[in-house]
């Protein structure tokens, strides 16, 4: 833009903004740091921070801000040109023990032991696809402001080997990589991710969609989910704590990314598998990605009808978010046979119409609404702008459209327990194209 700028950043983001500035070609960007956080502090505390010293440099904050826009540039500050960063194909030969240590120390793993990607193992993994090993699969980034890394079929195979995958799992992992979606978002809010497989490949590779589908009981569910985390770490530089990953508490779901197959065989008549809802044919195989924070098990009364209780259970989901219901086949059949829901779409429609939030609560009680929704209303985006003008005791939809509600069938029918979460659907990709 050509205007000298003094960026002020809170302390926790020091490594993130410095590495980010380097990658964006301004390594000497003149940051001033203040204590973290600013959110929730008083005006007096803000003034105190501004009149104190920068906690990184020890220099007065005010002087640093003024120096940032007035001190002459160095020769390096005005440089142009480019810095290439070639990616090596092989690691220097070493013992297995040393290589395991190297992978761990370089941050190339999820902290658990990996399978070393030897030439023979990668070659075997590549037998799982007809694609050229040098073909570019896609690009991925930790979150939208960060740089996009690209990766080949071979690089995906390397990470698939590390995750413990078999060649028959590889088309699913390639399809997942082709979405360009990281499972490790930079956000301070500690996002989780979810991956759902639909279509014939579920049974071909023996994925679990029944009893214990979300647990550690099935190789395909386990390694495909884990592979997504390793892809994210190594193919997009996601998950570098303090640089590209800022989730305050982290999220345990990131180890496996809630990887399962939808239980299509147990869907009631008229209820479509998720990939068919998204426009794919039933005989196609797909992988679908979601992002959210977590799930909970509603403790519904079994003496009453199921659906009228849904608005009560979903109150924990922020109106900023979407919702995803993981329904056991016991429940889907009850919904169809006893409560008259002949399709997922009918159930989604009911939830959208009946889950509501009071305008006053919507305006006052949700951090994400205040930071990410209301600013859009101030820009005139509807229906947010209209809702912001309503009386505080009026009600608005908790989920602004049907597209913010997902219904998935999973489980073995041993109980009426189920799970509800705040996951949003992101995208689906064909697995067949990567066979």
């Amino acid at each position: 833009m050509g205007v000298p700028t003094a960026p002020i950043v809170t302390l926790k983001f020091e490594n993130l903004v410095k590495t980010y500035a380097y990658k964006k070609g301004m390594p000497n960007k003149r940051f001033t740091f203040v204590p973290h956080p600013i959110a929730g502090t008083t005006a007096e505390k803000c003034r105190e921070y501004l009149l104190a010293n920068d906690p990184v440099t020890g220099k007065p904050v005010l002087k640093e801000i003024i120096d940032a826009i007035t001190m002459p540039l160095s020769k390096e500050d005005s440089e142009t040109g480019s810095i290439e960063r070639p990616s090596e194909r092989l690691v220097a030969p070493d013992t297995e023990e040393n290589l395991h240590q190297l992978f761990l120390e370089n941050g190339w793993t999820d902290g658990l032991p990996i399978v070393l990607p030897t030439e023979a193992r990668v070659k075997e993994m590549l037998q799982g696809t007809s694609r050229d090993p040098n073909e570019i699969v896609g690009k991925m980034q930790p979150s939208s402001p960060h740089e996009l890394w690209s990766y080949t079929v071979e690089k995906v195979a390397v990470n698939a080997v590390m995750a413990g995958a078999r060649p028959e799992h590889f088309p699913v992992i390639l399809a997942l990589a082709s979405t360009g979606m990281t499972s490790l978002s930079t956000s301070t809010t500690s996002f989780a991710a979810m991956v759902v497989v639909n279509g014939p490949i579920r049974n071909e590779i023996k994925m679990n969609s029944g009893i214990g589908a979300l647990g550690p009981f099935n190789q395909a569910n386990a390694v495909i989910g884990r592979a997504w985390t390793l892809l994210s770490i190594n193919l997009s530089a996601s998950g570098k704590v303090g640089e590209t990953y800022m989730g305050s508490q982290g999220n345990n779901l990131n180890y496996n990314n809630v990887c399962f197959a939808e239980n299509e065989e147990e869907l009631p008549e008229g209820w479509k598998p998720f990939h068919v809802q998204q426009g794919f044919k039933p005989e196609e195989s797909t992988v679908s990605t979601f992002i959210g924070w977590g799930f909970t098990h509603p403790d519904q009364s079994m003496e009453k009808a199921f659906v009228p209780q849904i608005p009560f259970w979903l109150k924990f989901v922020s109106p900023f978010s979407s919702t995803t219901l993981l329904l056991d086949p016991n429940i889907t059949h009850q919904l169809k046979n006893s409560e008259g829901f002949n399709s997922k779409e009918q159930l989604i429609e009911w939830i959208q119409k009946n889950c509501k939030v009071k305008v006053g609560d919507w305006l006052d009680e949700y951090y994400a609404v205040q930071n990410f929704v209301l600013p859009m209303g101030r820009m005139g985006q509807e229906p947010i702008a209209k809702w912001m003008k309503l009386p505080r005791d009026e009600y608005i939809p908790q989920f602004s459209s049907n597209s913010k509600i997902t219904i998935l069938s999973v489980g073995g029918g041993t109980n009426l327990f189920w799970q509800a979460g705040d996951f949003s659907y992101n995208s689906s990709a064909s697995i067949d194209e990567w066979r």
Binding site: I8, I38, L50, I65, I69, T70, V91, M379
Partner: protein, 126 residues
């Protein structure tokens, strides 16, 4: 004579056997090295961007303070504006809030700053 030659040959063969045996032992105790792939994807080249020329003096200049929209940022910048106004009275300190969330661009504001401003202070995440 023949017996003597046979002894020499036997000794040479024994020596060769011992050398080979010892070599194998040393191979057995030295851990094997293997070659593995590097798992990292390809980062893009970094394009260096020259920083904008600085202003030599604040006097008579207009400096924009831009709130990117995070909670309490406006409060921080309001305090900063008050301090700067008092400390640098010959400078105009303009406080603005960028439209939308921090994901949204604000070309109108950038245009205004480029036309009317000489420098910018931007804050803050969290």
């Amino acid at each position: 004579m023949n017996r003597h030659i046979s002894n020499i040959i036997l000794r040479i063969l024994y020596g060769m056997f011992m050398v080979l045996a010892l070599t194998n032992v040393s191979r057995a105790v030295e851990p094997d090295k293997i070659t593995v792939y590097n798992p990292l994807g390809q980062p893009p080249a970094i394009q260096k961007v020259p920083m904008a020329p600085r202003i030599m003096s604040l006097d008579g200049k207009t400096v924009y303070l831009v709130d990117i929209g995070f909670s309490a940022t406006h409060q921080l910048l309001t305090e900063l504006q008050d301090i700067l106004k008092e400390k640098y009275p010959k400078t105009k300190w303009e406080l603005r809030t960028k439209i939308g969330t921090y994901f949204n661009d604000d070309p109108e504001l950038w245009k205004e700053i480029k036309e009317k401003g000489h420098a910018m202070i931007m804050a803050v995440g969290h």
